[in-house]
Symmetry: C2
Subunit: 311 residues, 2 copies
């Protein structure tokens, strides 16, 4: 498990190690292939990585992600650069901290074969950043977007731990060989924390090559990032897009701007099979339901009215 | 030394291992720091890499470079992605093929600290591609651009091993701390083989972050690639630019188009100190002298007239 800490605020987030694509537990796959990989990760990968991290010291995720966003990743469905940067950052310590060369080589080969390995660091990095902004009275900042295959839900900073939900939408995407839209479950997973934190779909302009994985065109990628500027509160001073003259990624979704404009957050995501046991079958673009943003804005307003009454 | 082979044509090119930036032999630096690094490279790095390559087998440079160009490298002055991809490609074999873990870790740390390591593979890759196109009767293809700090010289496919030269220009660029234009030697080095092969300056559009290293703006980077389409014969089917809807990089400089349009090839390059012993002091953009292209075109015409006379 990764432990990610917000150095400024002290809060932590946690994430499993990424198994890869296809038949993986996090997309609902099970069976011998899945269990065998998980056992190898538990027995071989995790202890080797833990020793490497202990020797290396904390990895500066913000710097790695900032670099990766300048190398064609958007930090959600394209993580080839981030994974590459993590490998080269940890490799010397991995070698120094582990005695068994064959195991080190196995670990390096696994990381090399899994371009999504860095995803399970971008997600808790976003969670860490957003948790620090949670539960601020009156704040219209969206602090969580998550889906469970049935409902799409959000939380606002100003409404605490309340969920505002609506039916989970379908994903419009590209499929792995042998699968198609009829196999797809509705939108699922908590990876949309990356978009909530200002990258992923919000940073698509910096990752035009991602359209080969999630569909769309390079022009759509740029248009998507620009559209997200209309519903966000700021531009990241750290996560920059070179092709847009180094402008920061649109960061901090304002539920009021979503409701005013009718523009919903753009999410890139993986697609799970609708039946248990099979796993990931594709990736694509999601249009979240506007209803939960409307409900959240209304609840925020009621909260403020309540406070006014109390004064 | 790297040995790079053109698998389709069997010809080879060779290159040293990249030392890094700053005080390095290839930019004319000398002294203990330089010698010590070179001795370490000879005694520790090179044997370890050689064993890794022997175990791994040939590295597919075309695939690595194609990926790197989709990750914000242009393959001449920005090679962070290529270096990262090479590290992760070779790391498992490096660990398996070498017994001494401390040496493996040293090698991985050196590669991690030198984002230009992949440059010394993109150069011979370009040389290999272009040598296969050399010495074709009547061809107006530019097969070499090189500079020696005094002269800028080119060769054409249709004029064999003749050099056409003009005074080497100044480089317009950014300098390492403590240096400025007064310290700079005129344009020097054979790295412009990358532009001759269709990447480097010709692929700047895919590497907008490079402007922080060589100067200019992201808009200039795109404009440069588009301008190069007017003097080239084709678009690469392999080296693609995602942000330009995956169009290929402009490839194959036609000396006739250079002379007709007056547009000279765009080159990104490092800047050497004008005095021996110091090394690299910056990086920037070069505008080659049109005169050598004019002379080459005239000589090509004379060659063809000679052939006509002979018929």
């Amino acid at each position: 498990m990764w432990v990610v800490e917000n150095a400024a605020h002290g809060n932590r987030a946690y994430c499993t190690l990424n198994e890869g694509l296809g038949a993986v537990l996090r997309y609902g796959a099970f069976g011998d292939e899945v269990y065998e990989r998980l056992r190898w990760m538990r027995d071989r990968l995790a202890p080797a990585l833990a020793r490497a991290i202990e020797l290396h010291g904390p990895v500066d995720l913000r710097t790695l992600l900032a670099q990766a966003l300048q190398m064609g990743d958007e930090g959600h469905n394209r993580n080839r650069a981030g994974t590459s940067l993590l490998i080269r950052e940890l490799a010397p310590a991995l070698v120094r901290a582990n005695a068994d060369r064959e195991r080190i080589a196995e670990v390096l080969a696994f990381l090399h074969a899994n371009d999504h390995f860095f995803l399970n660091l971008t997600m808790p990095a976003g969670k860490c950043a957003l948790d620090a902004a949670a539960e601020q009275s009156g704040s219209s900042l969206v602090t969580v977007m998550a889906r469970n295959g049935t409902e799409f839900g959000i939380r606002l900073s100003g409404t605490g731990d309340r969920w505002f939900t609506a039916p989970a939408p379908r994903v419009d995407g590209l499929y792995l060989p042998g699968y198609g839209p009829d196999d797809a479950a509705p939108d699922i997973g908590d990876s949309a924390i990356t978009e909530t934190a200002g990258y992923g779909g919000f940073a698509m302009a910096t990752a035009p090559a991602i359209v080969q994985f999630v569909g769309g065109s390079p022009a759509l990628a740029v248009e998507t990032t620009e559209r997200m500027r209309r519903i966000t509160l700021a531009e990241s001073p750290v996560y920059q897009i070179p092709s847009l003259s180094f402008r920061g990624t649109p960061t901090g979704i304002d539920v009021l701007r979503v409701v005013e404009t009718g523009i919903v957050p753009a999410i890139n995501t993986g697609i799970a099979h609708r039946l248990p046991g099979i796993g990931m079958v594709g990736a694509g673009l999601v249009t979240p339901p506007l209803a939960c943003f409307r409900d959240a804005a209304r609840a925020l307003a009621e909260t403020l009215e309540g406070e006014d009454d109390a004064r």
